[in-house]
């Protein structure tokens, strides 16, 4: 397994008592696969990503990446956050370049790479705009290519399209599908939108309500190449959606009952 999560549990300590975010998670992820993680809010989806990124330490259990036990922040990992994390004092070009700048890549080289990606994302003409001058969709595009710029093996995405309107979302889903099909990065995608999870990924993992445990691991039987709108109108999609929705619904209702 490329990413191996073994008996992972995370408990947050707080003065009002401990909160168990994840409990006994076991997942194996193969290189180059596209995994979605879905579950009711507060089930620890984001925590799972943060553990893999080395930003949160597991309370117990281990994470292995490419045969090495995770300690600290792994190299070659990319993270597209739910929140807007573009640096507001850098323009688009500066934001896309930053990963390469951190790695000490020479100025001309990183500029060339950044301009390529900006063009690919259809953002040409916006190189020198500041983040506040961009729309939400553009900002998430920049966040995505900022991650692609330094070519990480694994890309973690935490509800990256959560704040976007429905149309922009579908466009960006298609772009992401295209990028994944071309680059074959390993992507772990957290979302609360079941349709999005099915549309994008090979495997959907449903987590239970807090503490998050694995409820079901489901392989989506829809072949690639996929296009967001086509997937949604296919009969397989409806079938898969109904099966997974039953599971997800149970967990969402549990949260509501509290």
């Amino acid at each position: 397994m490329y990413i191996d999560i073994r008996n992972l549990s995370v408990t947050y300590k707080s003065p009002r008592g401990d909160v168990e975010a994840l409990k006994d998670i076991n997942i194996g992820i193969e290189k180059g696969s596209f995994i979605s993680v879905i579950g009711p809010s507060g089930c620890g989806k984001s925590t799972l990503l943060k553990v893999i990124a080395g930003l949160v330490k597991p309370t117990s259990g281990e994470v292995w990446i490419d045969g090495r036990k995770l300690e600290g922040i792994p190299q070659n990992i990319g993270f597209v956050f739910q929140e807007d994390t573009l640096l507001p004092w850098r323009n688009v070009l500066g934001n896309v370049e930053i990963g390469l700048e951190i790695r000490g890549v020479k100025k001309e080289k990183r500029r060339k790479r950044a301009l390529e990606l900006i063009k690919m994302a259809g953002l040409n003409g916006f190189e020198h705009k500041m983040p506040y001058e961009l729309s939400g969709g553009m900002r998430q595009r920049v966040a995505l290519i900022r991650t692609l710029a330094y070519d990480p093996e694994i890309i973690l995405m935490d509800e990256p399209f959560g704040a976007l309107d429905a149309q922009t979302r579908i466009i960006l889903q298609d772009e992401l599908l295209k990028i994944w099909q071309e680059t074959k990065k390993t992507i772990i995608f957290v979302t609360h939108d079941l349709a999005e999870a099915i549309t994008l990924s090979e495997i959907v993992i449903i987590l239970t309500a807090r503490p998050g445990t694995i409820k079901r691991i489901y392989e989506v039987p829809i072949p690639y190449p996929r296009f967001a709108l086509d997937v949604r109108s296919s009969s397989e999609f409806t079938e898969v959606f109904n099966v997974l929705w039953k599971d997800l619904r149970e967990e969402v209702m549990k949260v509501k009952a509290h």
Binding site: I73, P88, Y132
Partner: protein
């Protein structure tokens, strides 16, 4: 509707025309604003002149615009005023410089050292709670009636403004920004360079406007208490002689200086903080 129109692109030519129009519109708006301000002041001064001239209020107490404007003019003509403006501005600048520098350093130290914070923060809080003017007599005793006592007085106000801004600025640095570049492999030095320093600069600039305003207050109050030169000294001296016209001349001058300083700090903020929406 207008904004929507301006944002859409309709080809090179019309865009350029629009930009030109925008510039013209901006110039026009500035001229109009200036005209409005001048008009308001003209009305006030004329009313003041009439009230004084007709002795509705005794001109001994309120002077009149014609008198103090001529007085102000003659102070510049004879060169009498320059040395006093210089003294006041000199105190302000030195007070500002020391206050900003030390406030910045203290803010950084206390934000990163828990021990320093626990030891020093209560002292800072109690000094900051004190009306600073109350310390002024002590400063005069310690540092004399020269420049030094005014610098000290200004320092006590500016220091705390800058200190608290920088301190809370660092404490509130967006955690998400740090996480985002941490996963890209940033080390501690790079986090400081790419995230923390830019945040501090923006907070520091934000503290500059109130600092400059307080520095002017500090200089004038210091001079009024004990000094041998400066605009505050003229104020006290003229009041003592019942020379109300001179008092109003200096007040007008101070208003002008205050506005000019505030305007320049704002221009500086704009230049440095281009990345912030206006």
């Amino acid at each position: 509707m207008e904004r929507f129109k301006r944002r859409s692109y309709e080809g090179e030519g019309s865009l350029r025309r629009k930009v030109k129009l925008d510039v013209l519109r901006g110039v026009f708006r500035t001229v109009m604003r200036l005209a409005r301000v001048i008009l308001v002041f003209a009305v006030i001064f004329v009313a003041w002149e009439i009230i004084s001239h007709c002795k509705i209020i005794d001109p001994f107490y309120i002077s009149k615009p014609s008198a103090f404007l001529i007085d102000l003019w003659s102070m510049f003509q004879t060169g009498y005023i320059y040395k006093h403006i210089y003294a006041t501005v000199y105190e302000m600048l030195l007070g500002l410089l020391t206050g900003v520098a030390t406030g910045l350093i203290a803010g950084i130290i206390l934000a990163y050292s828990k021990t320093a914070y626990d030891l020093i923060a209560p002292i800072f809080a109690s000094i900051n709670a004190m009306p600073r003017i109350a310390i002024a007599p002590l400063f005069i005793l310690w540092f004399g009636i020269g420049v030094l006592s005014k610098i000290a007085l200004i320092w006590t106000t500016v220091f705390f403004i800058v200190f608290y801004n920088v301190f809370f600025g660092i404490k509130n640095v967006n955690e998400n920004f740090i996480n985002a570049i941490l996963v890209m492999g940033a080390n501690k030095r790079q986090i400081i360079r790419f995230v923390i320093l830019p945040s501090i600069i923006s907070w520091l600039l934000a503290s500059l406007r109130p600092s400059v305003a307080m520095a002017l207050v500090g200089a004038i109050v210091g001079e009024m208490l004990a000094s041998s030169e400066g605009l505050g000294w003229i104020l006290i001296y003229a009041t003592g002689l019942f020379y109300v016209t001179r008092v109003f001349s200096i007040l007008m001058l101070l208003a002008l200086i205050g506005v000019a300083l505030d305007y320049s700090v704002r221009a500086m903020e704009k230049a440095f903080l281009k990345w912030r929406p206006a």
